[in-house]
Subunit: 130 residues, 2 copies
């Protein structure tokens, strides 16, 4: 059996005081992280909430990046969903750590999604469960 996708959740705590005040800045950070990870960007959509807060998603050919940021807690919840082996997750996570000036980054889950049985004859190398 193998997994079609992989979903990683990352907690960015103790971020810079201005990291999440502006949706454009947050969008730039996620687009940069997606590029740094070798993802192919398809679209992005970001929203500023009143009095504060930013939500956003970047759809990539390999699945997605999402973020929900609480400036009042210097915190953002990120998740990265990928398929295939071309995405450098470490690069994406480090890129956002720098953009958000986070002093406390926690990879809080790393989950296989879509665990599929497959006849042996159809298996390809590298499709085993990671």
């Amino acid at each position: 059996f193998f997994a079609l996708g992989r979903q990683v959740t990352i907690e960015y705590y103790e971020c810079g005081a201005t990291a999440f005040l502006d949706a454009v800045r947050v969008e730039d950070a996620l687009l940069k992280a997606a590029k740094d990870s070798n993802a192919t960007i398809i679209s992005s959509s970001f929203h500023q909430f009143e009095p504060q807060g930013v939500s956003g998603v970047v759809v990539i050919a390999e699945s997605h990046f999402t973020i929900h940021a609480w400036p009042e807690h210097d915190y953002a919840a990120v998740d990265i969903f990928t398929c295939g082996d071309n995405i450098n997750l470490e690069a994406a996570i480090t890129s956002m750590k720098e953009s958000f000036e986070s002093k406390n980054v926690l990879i809080s889950s790393d989950q296989n999604r879509g665990i599929i049985s497959k006849p042996f004859a159809k298996q390809h190398i590298g499709q085993t469960l990671k």
Copy 2:
């Protein structure tokens, strides 16, 4: 302490043969699920892949719905990220089960996101960790 958000992942296996062939149909299903859960829809973005596959996100005021669907496996990976107590997750999950004609639905994780310490004086009832 309490959690700012909650992220639930759902696996829809054994879906209908035509459930994921058309991105518009998948988008309609997610928008319906978001409405059925009492979410406030902000934006949605869906993409059809060649030769097959659909990815999409619905940004809601309370955070997001995402989906990645593999028609060749009759499978879709969904996640729902919420803040606050106004979203009826059960209604959303059941709505998509019906839309996708899934015979095998698995809630594969239910994760608290952004666990924050808060001075006792500032706590409100209902903000304890669930």
